[in-house]
Symmetry: C2
Subunit: 543 residues, 2 copies
C-alpha cells in the first residue's frame, strides 16, 4: 500500500484540529452542565439555558461546516484511512459518522434541545421535590416532541449498519423511531434486537427473583443495619478513601453532591463525579460513589494525547456502564473487597457497626429485594428496573403512551414486574433525571453495561488469577491496568461490540451475567447451585 501523501497528512491534521475544537466546545458545555447540577444559583436557570443553547449552536455550526465534509470525503478515499486498524482510519471513520449525523440536524433543533433540556432538568428538580408530575409533564411533552424530530432527522443515517449485538440488521424489520436515538448512545444497537435479548433476560431473571424470595430473602427493610445512623462527614471520608484506593485521581477529578449522582468527563485531567448522601442509607452514597468512580476511571484512562478526537473518546454508554457496574458490583459488593474495607468501616462507624459481622454486612449490601428506586436496587432486580423504563420510553416516544398516562403505566409496570407500587411520583416516574435531560434511548445501555461487565470480569479473573486475593489486601491496581489496556486506552477505535469481543475473546453474551448472579446469590441465599436451563453460552441469543 502506498504511503500516505503529505497532502492527505495535512488534511488529516486539519481534520484533527477541527475535531479538537469541537471537543473543546463540548468540554466548555460540560463544565457549565456540571455547574448547573452542583453550585449554580436558582436565579441563573434561564441564562444557563441560553448559554447551553448558544454553545450547542456554535458546536453545530462548526461541526456541520462544509469544509469538514470535504476533508472527510477526501480522507475517506485516501491511503491514510485504508489501514483499517490504524488510529487514523478509526478517526476518519468515526468523524465521518458523526458528521453524517450532525448535518441531518437543523441548528434550531439543536439549540432548542439544549435550551429545553437545560430548563426541563431544573423543572424536574422542583417537580420531584414536590412529587408533582403534572408540573413536569409539559416539559416532558416538549422534550419528547424534540426527540421525535431528532429521530426523524437521523433515521436515514442508520441504513447499512451492522447490528450492535453482532448480527446484520434487517431480519427484524425496518428501523424504528427509537433506533436513531439508541444508536447515538450505543453505536450499532437496534431496538428489535434489544427486545429479544431483554426478553430473554427477563425470562431468566423473574423466576430467579422469585426463587430468592421463596428462600426467605425478603426481610423487613426497616431492620437493616444499613439504616442506622452513618454521619455524612464520615461517609464522605470513607467513600473518598475507597475511590482513591481504587485509583481515582483526585488531582484530576473531584467528588461533589448533587440531586442525582453522575460522572462527567470534561477532559482526562478533569473528571468529576457526584453522589448524594443520606445519613440513614449508608449503601446509597457508598455504592453510587464506586459506580461513578468506575465511570471516572474510564474517563481518566482515556489516552490524553488523543484528547478531542475519537481515539481519545469513550466508545459507548454501554461500555461506560460496564466500567461503573464492574467496580460497583463485581468488585465493590464482593466478599474479598470487604475483607479489606469492613474493618475500616467498622472503625469509621463504630456506633452503627460495632455489633455487626462481616457476614451480616455482606448479606445486607447484597440483599435482594424488589424495590422502587433504580439506583438503590440490588444487582439481581436492577435490570428489571431498566427493562420497565425501556418499555415505557419506547411507548412514550412512539406516542403509544400519552404522558398523561405515564404515572399510571409506571405504577402498573412496577406492580406487575416487581410486585411493588410507588406511593407517589417522586419515587415513581419522576425518580430519574434522564427524560428531563433528553436522554431517551439511554436506559437500555445500563443493562448492556451489566452484560458487558460480567463478560469482562469473567475474563479478567481468568487472566489475573490472584485478583480477588488482591482485593482482600486492598489492592486492585492489576484490574485497573487490565481495563486500561483492554478498554480505556482503546478510545473509540472499534465499535462497542468489537471492543468487547477483542477484550473477552468471544461474542456478546448475557450468560456470564446470569452465571455470576446465580453463583453469588445462590451462595448468599442457600439456593441450589445448578445452572438453570438457558444459562449456557449464547443463552441470551434468540431462540
Amino acid at each position: 500500500m502506498a504511503s500516505p501523501s503529505s497532502d492527505s497528512r495535512a488534511l488529516y491534521e486539519e481534520l484533527l484540529k477541527s475535531s479538537r475544537e469541537l471537543g473543546l466546545l463540548g468540554s466548555c458545555a460540560a463544565v457549565l452542565g456540571w455547574d448547573e447540577q452542583t453550585y449554580m444559583p436558582p436565579g441563573a436557570s434561564s441564562l444557563r439555558g441560553d448559554q447551553m443553547a448558544l454553545l450547542a449552536g456554535i458546536q453545530h455550526d462548526r461541526g456541520t461546516d462544509p469544509r469538514l465534509g470535504e476533508l472527510l470525503e477526501n480522507l475517506h478515499d485516501s491511503s491514510l484511512a485504508a489501514e483499517l486498524d490504524s488510529i487514523e482510519s478509526a478517526n476518519v471513520r468515526q468523524l465521518r459518522r458523526d458528521y453524517a449525523r450532525r448535518i441531518k440536524l437543523p441548528r434550531a433543533l439543536v439549540e432548542d434541545l439544549a435550551r429545553t433540556t437545560s430548563l426541563a432538568q431544573q423543572e424536574w428538580v422542583g417537580a420531584k421535590h414536590a412529587s408533582d408530575f403534572a408540573r413536569f409533564r409539559p416539559w416532558l411533552d416538549r422534550v419528547l416532541a424534540l426527540k421525535r424530530q431528532e429521530s426523524a432527522c437521523l433515521l436515514e443515517c442508520l441504513e447499512d449498519r451492522r447490528d450492535g449485538l453482532g448480527n446484520e440488521q434487517g431480519s427484524e424489520g425496518a428501523a424504528t423511531i427509537y433506533d436513531p436515538l439508541l444508536d447515538e448512545y450505543e453505536q450499532g444497537a437496534r431496538t428489535a434486537r434489544l427486545r429479544v435479548v431483554f426478553g430473554d433476560l427477563r425470562e431468566s431473571l423473574s423466576p430467579f427473583v422469585k426463587q430468592i424470595a421463596e428462600a426467605g430473602g425478603m426481610r423487613n427493610p426497616g431492620e437493616s443495619v444499613l439504616r442506622r445512623r452513618f454521619p455524612i462527614d464520615r461517609q464522605r471520608v470513607l467513600a473518598e478513601s475507597a475511590a482513591a484506593a481504587l485509583g481515582f485521581d483526585f488531582q484530576r477529578g473531584r467528588l461533589d453532591v448533587t440531586e442525582h449522582p453522575f460522572c462527567t468527563g470534561i477532559g482526562s485531567g478533569d473528571v468529576r463525579v457526584t453522589t448524594k448522601y443520606d445519613e440513614r442509607r449508608f449503601d446509597d452514597a457508598f455504592f453510587s460513589v464506586l459506580h461513578e468512580v468506575g465511570h471516572g476511571l474510564y474517563e481518566q484512562g482515556l489516552p490524553t494525547e488523543s484528547w478531542g478526537t475519537p481515539a481519545g473518546e469513550s466508545v459507548s454508554l454501554g461500555v461506560h456502564e460496564s466500567q461503573s457496574r464492574l467496580w460497583e458490583n463485581f468488585v465493590g459488593r464482593s466478599r474479598s473487597f470487604w475483607s479489606y474495607w469492613f474493618p475500616v468501616a467498622h472503625r469509621t462507624f463504630h456506633d452503627a457497626l460495632h455489633d455487626v459481622t462481616l457476614e451480616q454486612f455482606l448479606g445486607e449490601i447484597n440483599r435482594v429485594e424488589p424495590s422502587l428506586i433504580r439506583i438503590q436496587a440490588d444487582e439481581v432486580t436492577y435490570n428489571l428496573h431498566v427493562l420497565i423504563r425501556f418499555d415505557l420510553e419506547l411507548a412514550l416516544l412512539s406516542g403509544d403512551l400519552a404522558t398523561a398516562d405515564l404515572p399510571e403505566a409506571w405504577n402498573a409496570k412496577y406492580a406487575e414486574t416487581l410486585g411493588v407500587t410507588p406511593a407517589n411520583d417522586a419515587e415513581g416516574c419522576l425518580q430519574d433525571v434522564h427524560w428531563a435531560a433528553g436522554l431517551i434511548g439511554y436506559f437500555p445501555t445500563y443493562t448492556l453495561g451489566n452484560i458487558y461487565a460480567a463478560q469482562l470480569y469473567a475474563r479478567a479473573t481468568a487472566d489475573l488469577p490472584g485478583l480477588e486475593a488482591g482485593f482482600a489486601r486492598g489492592e486492585s491496581a492489576d484490574l485497573l491496568a487490565w481495563l486500561r489496556d483492554k478498554i480505556h486506552r482503546q478510545g473509540r477505535r472499534y465499535a462497542p461490540t468489537d471492543l468487547i469481543e477483542r477484550a473477552v475473546g468471544g461474542p456478546i453474551d448475557a450468560a456470564p451475567l446470569m452465571a455470576h448472579l446465580r453463583r453469588k446469590y445462590g451462595e448468599l441465599y442457600g439456593l441450589s447451585s445448578s445452572p438453570a436451563p438457558g444459562d449456557g453460552p449464547g443463552a441470551s441469543q434468540p431462540r
Copy 2:
C-alpha cells in the same frame, strides 16, 4: 426629529442580538473562570487554558464581524442614535467604541492572552504558596509582553477622547503605553491625569498617616482581639447573614472560598462572590465579604431586561469599586452598622468577644497601621498600597523596571511609603493575582473607587437623613434603593465620570474622601479635627 425608520429599528434589533450573543459567550467564559478559581482540579489546568482561548477566539471573531461594523455605521448616522440620552443611542455609542477597540486586536493575540493569563494564574498560585517569585517571573514577562502588544494595537482608539476626570485631554501630552489599558477599565481615564490626582492624594495621606502614628495609633498587632480564635464555620454564618441583610440575594448568587477574594457577575441572576477564611483573622473574611457583596449588589442591580447590552452592563471598574468600598468601609466599618451587628457577633463568638466592648471592637476594625497586604489594609493606608502598584506597573509595562528587579523595587517602595518591608515575596510582590491575570491598569481604579465612594456616600447621607440611624437597626434598604436608582440601573448609559456627576451633583473630587478620613479617624485617634490645607472642594485637582 424624524421618528426612527422601521429599517433602523430592524438593524438595531440585529445589533442587540449580536451584543447579547457576545454577552452569552462572555458569561460562559465567566463560569469557567469562576470554576478555575474555586473547584477545578489541578489536572485540568492546561485544558482550561485551551477552553478559555477558544471562547475568547470565538468571541473575538463574532465581535469583529464586518457585519457588526456595518450595523454600527448605519445606526450611528440614524435618527435612532441621535437622541443623546436614549438607551438606543447609548447602546450604539458604546458598542461602536467596543467594536473599534476589538478590530484593532488580532485574534491570535486575544487567544494568546486568554490562554497565557489562565495558565499564569495557576502558576501564580503555586509560586505564591512557595513564595518563589523566580518561578512566576517568566509568566509575568509573557503577560507583560502580550499587554504591551495589546496596548500598541489599541493606542489609536484613544484619540479625540474626553479625559476621564472631566478635562479635555492634550494638556498633559500624548497618550502613553499605559493609557489604552487603563481606558479598558475606566473609560476616559488617562495616566497623566492620574499621576496628578494620585500625587496630591499621597501628599495629603502621608502626613495624615504620620499624624495618626504619632497619636499612638500603632500598637502591637499581636494584641488585637481580632487575632483570637473565630471558628470558620461561624465566620461563614455571620458573613452570609450580613451579606443577606445588606440585600445580597442568595437565590441569584453564591459565596465560595478562593485564594484571592473576587466577585464575578455571570448574569444578574448569577452573581458569585468569594472570600478566604482565616480562623485568626476575623476582619479578613468579614470585610472581604462586605467588599465583594458591594460588587455583587451592583451586578444584581443591573437592569435584567438589558442584559447583554451596554445598558445592562456595569460602567467601569472605578464605579464598581465605589460600590464595594462604600459597603465595606462607609457602611461596614461604621459605628452605626456595628450598633446592630456587634451584639450578634458577641453571641456568635462568645469565647473571642465576651470581654470586648463595642468601643474596643470599633477601634480594632478601624486600626490604622502600615502593613504589607493590600486587601488587609485599613481605610487610611489602603490607597498608598494602590499608589505603589500604580507606579510599579507603569514602570514594568514601559520597561523602565525589569521583572527581575521587581521584588527589590517592591520592597523599597514599601519601606519608603509605609515603613514596612516584606519578609518574602508571598507577602510582597506575589500577593495579588492581578498581574498574573493580565489586569494591568486595574489597580488605579481601586483608588478612583474610593474617591467616588466618598462622594456618593456624602450625597446619599444628605439625601437620606435617617440613613445611619437605620444601619443601627440593621436596615440599609434605603441606601441600596438610592444606589440602584443612581448607579445600578443606569448600566453603561453614561461615561463613568458623567454617571458620578449626575449622582452627586458635582465633578469628581477627592476632598470628600480626605474629609471622611479626617473626620472618622480624627475622632478615633483623638486628633485635631480642623481640616488640613488642600482639603477644600477641588483640592484633589492639580495645583
